[in-house]
Homo-oligomer: 237 residues x 2
């Protein structure tokens, strides 16, 4: 039935291609995802992931598109951007006969000031527990958030902290607290320390601090080895 198939591929109508961002941050002791309230139809006034349309004249790659859309929509490019999944279908977006969404996960520091982008009424940090429960989200963004949460938790479970997740320097107990907040459950102190040290991803600094009326903790940074974790495999976005 597809007999005219020998023509050049470019003649076929192409779908609308968007890049959506699952931006995370640790705030008030729990993992939160950034939602934006849509200013226009479809799903007007509903909350969803910030995102934008791929611009083939501006974007060199999907990774670059994700950065640009971060800047345009929330005023900043999230760090540690990594592709999570690509979804597409005929009935995802009424504005186009076929719509594709390439979803990226990223981090921002909790204290960074976000700015409202175009076509957005408001931005809001939502705890991922709530976001998973709420069925009020636009499109299939609830599922996409769920995938992104699974993804970042898998990384943290293996002590692969996405770039931008950690402060420049930190103590092991601070690293553990952060991990617990991302994973959503407590971790054993001894086991965590053992695993982190065995992995040899830390460099001990010759300072000390973290006051309080108690013994201070040693300060560490990520070493170079742990930064090289991005292979070509993660780079081809």
């Amino acid at each position: 039935m597809t007999n005219k198939d020998n023509s050049e591929p470019t003649i076929y109508p192409m779908p609308l291609v968007r890049v959506d961002l699952a931006v995370f941050s640790i705030q008030e002791g729990c993992l939160k995802v950034l939602l934006s309230q849509r200013k226009e139809a479809p799903f007007k006034n509903k909350w969803g992931l910030p995102g934008g349309v791929l611009r083939i004249d501006l974007d060199e790659s999907f990774h670059a598109a994700a950065k640009r859309i971060g800047v345009e929509r929330i005023g900043i490019a999230p760090t540690g951007l990594q592709q999570v999944v690509t979804v597409g279908g005929a009935k995802r977006d009424p504005r186009a006969p076929w719509a594709v969404s390439v979803v990226f996960r990223g981090m921002v520091k909790p204290d960074l000031q976000l700015s409202l982008g175009k076509r957005i009424n408001a931005l809001e940090w939502r705890p991922v527990t709530d976001a998973g429960a709420s069925s009020e989200l636009a499109f299939d963004h609830r599922d996409l958030i769920e995938l992104a949460v699974i993804d970042i938790r898998n990384k943290v479970r293996e002590l692969h902290f996405p770039e931008g997740t950690l402060p420049d320097t930190f103590t092991i107990p601070e690293l553990q607290a952060l991990s617990e907040e991302i994973l959503g459950h407590p971790l054993d102190k001894v086991t965590f320390r053992r695993r982190v040290l065995a992995k040899e991803i830390l460099v001990e600094l010759s300072e000390e601090l973290r006051g309080g009326a108690h013994r201070p903790a040693k300060i560490y940074t990520l070493n170079s080895k742990s930064m090289k974790a991005k292979t070509k495999l993660n780079a081809n976005n």
Copy 2:
């Protein structure tokens, strides 16, 4: 600089969206990937992954597109199709200013007869070791194959056999041999049996066989529990 950004998103030119298939099979004791020789430019006469252009008038989803393209290009829809990665960029394909490729991994039974699709000179099963070494492949398909191989090996390592990987019934030693062929290295007999049985993915059948001049092995099938492994998470292609 992007001041006219308030217009409807659909006015932007969209990229060429393709779906490429990394189809695997076990043959002659090793994991092989199916390559096709291109009949037309670009990369005329070079080998690459079989693939095709997304047809928004025919395909309900990317998963459906992968099935259709399987049928069109190699005469059969691979089983256990799962999305691996999406790549895109300005200079990937000279036929379009921007080209996207959504890569799916799938399996076919080794004895199935393939048929040559359009725009393909020939099909060839290439051991993944060779495919990884050859830098002769079209586009960035060498990298895509590498990703797909990592993906299927991760699954098999965790005893998650993609649909179509296993015959309907099999013995534990046969399952181990298959796993070793996919992983590319031998496994410990006792450990493998322990892990498989502990995972409770098998149902023992009341037959027996696998002749030869030796003790016969028990016959198993995958149970229903192990089939339910496809959650909504893997379904949204």
